[in-house]
């Protein structure tokens, strides 16, 4: 199967007062039709920058300094997104690939009603008679479990956070894009709304079959929604593989650390294993592997050279010199006798 | 002061004020010479002479002080009113605050100069104190609003700690917190108010609403206008000099406050 999106050696720089900073340092991956890819990492690892760069939505101070982003259109033609002209890019955006942003609080124009913003979106790309447009908009809102009558005449500030997020998801589907990029789709929402959004996304993928890239720091979300997962650290992908492979047999120490840091909901709250130290400053990266100062497997060769992604299994790669040594044992999620005791004593 | 133009503005401003305040100590006596009326600039008279043969440059140097002094007074009065009532309103809240806000809105609405004109018709505005009070009496709304907003936000912060503080301590702390925080903002507003007062004052003199007792810039403009000096090409500097002086004062002020604004609002800065 041919990938729908191929990213090769993408490098993104930001101009800062302290000089140029590389937020993305050579990322390569493929996205296949209908599949869902999760980009997981801590704040500052470059995942959001990567997401923005794919649609060339970087802020003024950011720019892609090198690399390729090859996109396969529905007619089979392959284009490099980075080379599109302004007008071509404008037409590409939303109709081929759409993005749902982080923090839905301020993603909608506060002065326009939802119906007008939906209309704007469609009209920018297609000519459509008013009634057909109306039906399309209502259709797409129902798909995200929203009542069009309630939502369309409203202004953004009249909607709740969850409703706004769903409006944004609906808006992204208006033109039936092949790829949907979501940046932290569930952050800043309460638990129940998160659940609702995740369910909606499941439904939509089943119904419409778009490919999805979502950026998050939320591992359990990835376990639910992703087919493949990539973990990012200091601007690079350090592990990439199928969701089961990554969660059951991670081969990069950082991924292991991330998994270990998720507390279990069931059973004892055993010691939380957090990764010691903090993510490095992109202005002063450690020599060799950027994770090496915090890594339990680190040795001399780790400081000498930065490892590349190398195969550790079928469709599973990890960027670690010692990937064959990395192991991970999941703690069994059962309630032990100690917790029974707590419950019995009336805690 | 990072901006170059802002710093230049500051220097010019200080220089102007210095010349106006200290200059008069060094100027020679003005001599009325009817034969030397409306002379163009020459070696003897750098800016020429006026309708009575008196040297314009001397008048310019002398003429700044009365105007600037009243301006400073007016600025001080209005700044004081703004700080006191702004913090009082925010701190006390309730109906006191509502009254203060309403009064502020009303004073903001009615055009200042018109009120001044009406007052001038009722009372003779000869004493500089009276002028300063009247000018300062209408200039405080802007600063009051800002002070009030600041105190409000500080009040929110202090609220949590207030429970642990003695009642006596809180206003004291408020004043020790507000002033350092807002010092630069208050300074800027003072200077702006002062310059606006000068502009209004010169306007009053120009219109003849305030009696002319000495040769200040406003008086020069008034005489130039009433004696038709504007319409003669020879007497150009008589009109031009005070205009340029006031404009330079405002220009230096504007550049100063622009760079202040850029410092306070980082998004306006160029990267």
């Amino acid at each position: 199967m041919e990938p729908i999106l191929s990213v090769r050696d993408l490098v993104v720089e930001y101009r800062t007062a302290a000089g140029p900073v590389r937020a993305v340092r050579g990322v390569s991956f493929d996205l296949y039709p209908h599949e869902s890819l999760a980009l997981i990492g801590e704040s500052g690892c470059g995942k959001t920058t990567l997401g923005l760069a794919l649609l060339r939505l970087l802020p003024k101070l950011g720019s892609v300094s090198s690399g390729e982003v090859r996109y396969r259109r529905r007619d089979g033609e392959v284009v490099d997104l980075l080379k599109l002209s302004r007008e071509e890019l404008r037409r590409f955006r939303w109709s081929e690939a759409a993005m749902v942003f982080q923090g839905s609080m301020n993603s909608l124009n506060p002065l326009l009603r939802v119906r007008d913003q939906m209309r704007d979106t469609v009209r920018a790309h297609r000519r459509m008679p008013a009634d057909e447009l109306g039906r399309l908009v209502e259709d797409v809102l129902r798909k995200v479990q929203l009542d069009p009558e309630r939502v369309l005449p409203a202004y953004p500030h009249e909607l709740s956070g969850g409703m706004k997020q769903r409006v944004l998801i609906a808006m992204s589907l208006l033109l039936d894009p092949q790829i949907l990029v979501l940046d932290e789709p569930t952050t800043a929402l309460d638990i129940r709304t998160q659940r609702a959004i995740v369910d909606v996304l499941h439904e939509l993928r089943a119904q419409l079959g778009f490919a999805m890239i979502f950026v998050s720091h939320d591992l359990p979300l990835a376990a639910e929604l992703a087919d493949r997962v990539a973990t990012m650290y200091a601007g690079r992908i350090i592990e990439l593989g199928g969701v089961r492979d990554l969660f059951y047999q991670p081969r990069h120490p950082y991924t292991v650390g991330l998994l270990g840091a998720v507390p279990s909901v069931v059973g004892d709250l055993s010691e939380l294993a957090s990764i010691p130290g903090g993510p490095p400053s992109l202005l002063a990266l450690p020599s060799g592997c950027p994770f090496q100062p915090r890594c339990g497997y680190a040795e001399a060769d780790c400081e000498a050279a930065e490892p590349d992604l190398a195969a550790v299994g079928a469709g599973h790669t990890a960027a670690c010199h010692h990937r064959d040594r990395v192991t991970y044992t999941r703690k069994p999620a059962t309630a032990g006798p100690a917790s029974d005791e707590k419950v019995a004593s009336g805690g | 002061m990072r901006s170059k133009s802002g710093f230049a503005g500051f220097i010019v401003f200080v220089l102007l004020v210095l010349i106006a305040v200290i200059g008069p100590l060094f100027t020679p006596q003005l001599v009325t010479d009817v034969t030397a009326v409306y002379l163009p600039p020459s070696g003897a008279h750098w800016l020429g002479t006026d309708s009575e043969g008196r040297d314009i440059l001397v008048q310019m140097i002398n003429g700044g002080r009365p105007v600037i002094l009243v301006g400073v007074l007016a600025g001080a009065i209005s700044t004081l009113i703004a700080i006191v009532f702004g913090s009082l309103g925010a701190y006390l809240g309730g109906w006191v605050d509502s009254v203060i806000v309403s009064v502020t809105d009303i004073v903001l609405t009615v055009p200042q100069i018109i009120l001044l004109a009406v007052l001038a018709s009722l009372y003779t505005l000869d004493s500089p104190w009276l002028l300063a009070v009247i000018l300062g009496a209408f200039a405080w709304p802007y600063l009051l609003r800002s002070v009030r907003a600041q105190v409000f936000s500080l009040k929110e912060r202090e609220y949590v700690e207030a429970a642990q503080l003695l009642d006596l301590g809180t206003p004291h702390i408020l004043f020790r917190e507000i002033l350092p925080n807002m010092a630069s903002f208050i300074m800027m507003n003072f200077v702006v108010t002062m310059t606006n007062a000068i502009y209004a004052l010169v306007g009053l003199y120009f219109l003849g609403l305030a009696p002319i007792v000495d040769d200040n810039w406003g008086a020069m403009l008034n005489k130039a206008w009433t004696r038709g000096a504007i319409f003669f090409s020879d007497s150009l500097f008589y009109v031009l000099a005070p205009i340029i002086a006031i404009s330079i004062l405002q220009l230096s002020l504007v550049t100063m406050t622009r760079s202040f604004e850029e410092i306070l609002n980082p998004r306006l800065r160029q990267s």
Partner: protein, 360 residues
Amino acid sequence: MVASDTEPVIRPALLRRITARIYHIYVVRRVLKSILTVYLVATGTFFLVRLLPGNPVQVYINTQMSQYGISYQDAASQAAGLFSFNPNRPLPEQYWEYLTGMLHGDLGQSLLSPSTSVLQIVFEYLPWTVFSVGLGVLISCGLGSLLGMLMAYRRGGWIDHTLSLISSLLHSIPNYLLAMLIVVFFGVQLDVLPIAQMRGAYSPGVTPEFSLDFISDAMYHASLPITVYVLTTIGGWMLVMKASTVDTLSEDFITVARARGLRDSRIASAYVGRNAVLPVFPQLAITLGFVVGGSILVEQVFQYQGIGFLLLQSVQRRDYPVLQGILLVVTIAVVAANLVSDLLYSRLDPRVRGAGGESS
């Protein structure tokens, strides 16, 4: 409270709720505030003209008595006609008379031409100021906002720097001084503008009517005052709009709008423009008040017979009823302008319309 009294007990509570709900409507609150302002200014004027020592009414009465030897009663009755309230009556009655007179449009008569009503005189001069100031502020605001937006889009470029410089320079010159400069330079020194001809609101001998000739003549005469108003206020708009546009451009929904593939023109108008222009409205009302105030000076320089011109004239002649009337009318005009701009703002920004739309 007997059982049969339960009905009246419910009604006051209901009435209170209805009043509260009406009060919550922003428009109602805003209009009430405007009426209150006008009322307070009117009362303040009354206080100034009647109650302070050495007040004009007293002076008038005394002068009449000493010059013409008439009795206090007669002098007072004369004053009553001129000032629109009777000094003979007790103070609260005077106040009431004054207020009701105001509502009926009776603002007294001119001291200098006792048969002409103040209202008549004021309305002879007012339209000219409304015309010149209104046009000036609108042009200045419109042009200034567009330029400000341009400066924000092309931040750091030569347009930004040049326009900033120009606006700083213009901002520094008080309006009447600029007016004088224009007269001096263009009128006298360079002899480009026929200053003498441009005096006044319209050429002598031309009758006011709604003809093209008259309108173009009026425009010709108003052009200089309007130019001064525009030049001296445009800097402010440019600055406000630039800062506001810069802020708006950094908002998330603009990035999202670009991601949605919207055309730049649509983004600039409905997304950036509409949001960025909001702070302009409160500024509009303040600027209007400021320019109206400045008209007293500018109209003097250009001898333009508007309300500012009348005001100065009345001050010089100590024509107090007219002064009182001018103050009132100008206040009403400015308050009305404020009201309109605030209501427009609430129309444009739906977030304000909820309960508690404080403008500060």
